[in-house]
């Protein structure tokens, strides 16, 4: 299974520099140095060139959910160590470190919210937590998300940013792919929409399970989306990969995603799609 790249190209690497009084940052796209607020006020999209930098989970809630409000489900689920896995550090040590640095219990938040007036079931990967990797907790929360959405007749909007399966939980991580897709098929049987939003990066076991099975697959510009990580492919075929390989634009031209949507247009696009698929007319 492809593995989370140690560091995403853009990732959290956005350079922070203190110049004079304010905090300034350099854009990963155009290289322009601007006050940090110029990025944060624009949901981490460069006001100059439109480069999408990584947006934390709270930012996504503020961007897409009405009042930024999420009624969180299953927040209490925490990982355990079924394989007693260690690689220098033990898995529990790695979990503790991830929880501390990300201020989250696991690599996904799920719950109920509303998006432009549409009640939705919401899921959002936290890439900052062990590369958004899917272990038992992530799998369980996604399965429950699909099940509860089916029971409460809610469409699902799921934002993915994940390097794939979590190696420290071994084969049980792989089983989460089957578990989540099984639950997704129940949502589909109930004729409820699944809007899959592909962020940077979406690879491995997340890509190869539910991520590309949306009724509508929307991708952010420039996101890395694929089964195998670029490094693994380069090592296998022993050649450099072409520019733009496995990026959103590549997936669009190969028919794998429905549309590339700028972060700033994401809320409107999802709301419009939900409106069409849920046959409700909005009155306001």
């Amino acid at each position: 299974m492809p593995w989370p790249e140690k560091k995403s190209p853009e990732g959290d690497a956005a350079e922070k520099k203190t110049l004079g009084k304010g905090v300034f940052r350099k854009c990963d796209g155009c290289g322009e140095t601007m006050p940090s607020e110029a990025f944060s006020a624009n949901f981490e999209v460069c006001p100059q060139c439109g480069q999408h930098h990584k947006l934390a989970a709270g930012g996504w809630r503020a961007l897409l959910l009405d009042d930024g409000a999420l009624d969180e489900w299953d927040a209490h689920l925490e990982p355990t160590d079924p394989l007693e896995f260690a690689d220098g550090k033990t898995y529990p040590e790695r979990i503790a470190a991830a929880q501390k640095s990300s201020h989250a219990r696991e690599a996904i938040e799920v719950g109920r919210g509303s998006l432009d007036g549409h009640a939705i079931a919401w899921g959002s990967f936290l890439f900052a937590f062990m590369g958004g990797s899917m272990g038992s907790v992530v799998g369980e929360k996604i399965a429950r998300l699909f099940e509860r959405a089916t029971a409460e007749r809610l469409p699902v909007v799921l934002l993915q940013a994940s390097g794939g399966a979590r190696m420290q939980e071994g084969i049980l991580s792989l089983m989460q792919m089957a578990k989540t897709v099984g639950a997704l098929e129940r949502l589909k049987d109930a004729r409820l929409p699944f809007v899959s939003v592909l962020l940077h990066p979406t690879t491995g076991g997340v890509a190869a399970s539910f991520a590309l099975l949306g009724d509508v697959n929307l991708a952010e510009p420039g996101a890395l989306i694929g089964f195998a990580g670029p490094r693994v492919i380069e090592q296998t075929i022993r050649q450099k990969l072409p520019e733009g390989f496995q990026r959103s634009e590549f997936l669009l031209s190969h028919g794998m995603v429905d549309a590339i949507v700028s972060r700033l247009a994401m809320r409107r696009t999802i709301a419009t799609v939900l409106g069409h698929l849920t046959k409700t007319s909005k009155a306001d």
Binding site: M1, P2, W3, H76, L77, E78, P79, T80, D81, P82, L83, F85, A86, G88, G135, S136, V137, G139, E140, A143, A165, M167, E169, G170, I171, L172, S173, L174, M175, Q176, M177, A178, K179, V181, G182, A183, E185, R186, G204, G205, A207, A208, S209, A211, L212, L213, G226, F227, A228, V232, I233, T236, I237, L241, P242, Q246, F250, H254, G255, M256
Partner: protein, 318 residues
């Protein structure tokens, strides 16, 4: 059939097994020797089992990849009749890393899908070492759909290092192809029995693995990433694969303990590669038993059984 390729640790067992086989050949004409030969065979089998009892996880990984091991088509030859191979995904091409078709299992029509490794260099190029492209998974998808429509049990046979990581595979949507297989298996209102014959390499294996019953051969493995891949990520050193193999809990015995497989199928003394016929008999018996268990479930019961089976896998603190 003797295996030409011998791993260092299997040498004593291989010698023992081939001695017994020679005796059996010699004694063919003389029925009086039969009881004595039986005793000898039992003793040799017990000894072989003892010698293999202490194998490390990494040694089991090597056995699961043994080039003399029977592959899907070897089992098809022995446990199926009237096999009609069906080719192609109707969209792009035919992937020889997956073989599929219609056949009879113990007289009953079934759909079969299996990974297929090659034997020898030339055949391995054709089979891409058992690493499928999206068109292979879409061929499997087509089979799952046909089985569902005609209410035929699905028998799958897993033996792959993994789905192929390459340019064409990504261009043609490897991720979507695997995801679509999982979705189709989730929905199929028919019995699905998966047998891990050798290597169960990650998502590329799971695309044939979302079954009501998952069987694994005694020296089969199943893992989220290859031990080499795991080692190169953890220690930047692929040669520490032996250590990674132990940590990943990927042997048949580990898988049974974790609930990932339902049953271990015994291999003949010295491993499946020592006796393809005997191995096929064991696999046939295990599949038949699983089918009997599933036959009492109706279409909806089968879907529910499969859902519950995977729904409970995972470990967390609530």
């Amino acid at each position: 059939m003797a295996a030409a390729f011998v791993l260092p640790f299997e040498k004593p067992v291989v010698e023992l097994v081939s001695r017994v086989r020679e005796l059996r050949e010699l004694a063919r004409a003389d029925t009086a020797l039969e009881p004595e030969l039986r005793r000898l065979e039992d003793k040799a089998a017990k000894l072989a089992r003892e010698l293999f009892a202490e194998l490390s996880p990494w040694q089991k990984v090597q056995l699961s990849r043994h080039p003399g091991r029977p592959y899907s088509l070897d089992y098809f030859d022995r446990i199926l009749t009237d096999f009609v191979e069906l080719h192609g995904d109707r969209t792009f091409g035919d992937d020889a890393a997956i073989v599929a078709g219609l056949a009879r299992f113990q007289g009953r029509p079934v759909v079969v899908v299996g990974h297929q490794k090659g034997r020898g260099a030339k055949d391995n190029v054709k089979r891409n070492f058992g690493m499928p492209h999206p068109e292979g998974y879409r061929k499997a998808l087509r089979m799952y759909g046909m089985a569902s429509r005609f209410e035929l049990p699905i028998l799958t046979f897993i033996d792959t290092p993994g789905a192929y990581p390459g340019i064409g595979a990504e261009e043609r949507g490897q991720s979507e192809a695997i995801g679509a297989c999982l979705a189709a298996m989730a929905r199929a209102p028919v019995p699905i029995i998966a047998t891990i014959l050798g290597e169960g390499g990650s998502g590329g294996a799971l695309a044939l693995g979302m079954a009501n019953r998952v069987l694994v051969l005694e020296y089969g493995t199943y893992s989220v990433i290859s031990p080499e891949g795991c080692a190169s990520i953890l220690w930047k050193d692929g040669s520490k694969a032996d250590e990674a193999a132990a940590r990943m809990k990927m042997t048949a015995q580990d898988l049974l303990r974790l609930g990932v497989v339902d049953r271990i199928v015994d291999e003949p003394p010295g491993g499946a590669h020592q006796d393809h016929d005997a191995s096929a008999r064991h696999v046939e018996r295990a599949i038949a038993a699983a089918l009997r268990e599933l036959d009492i479930l109706g279409p909806q019961g089968l879907v529910e059984d499969r859902y519950r089976r995977f729904r409970k896998l995972g470990a967390f603190v609530a």
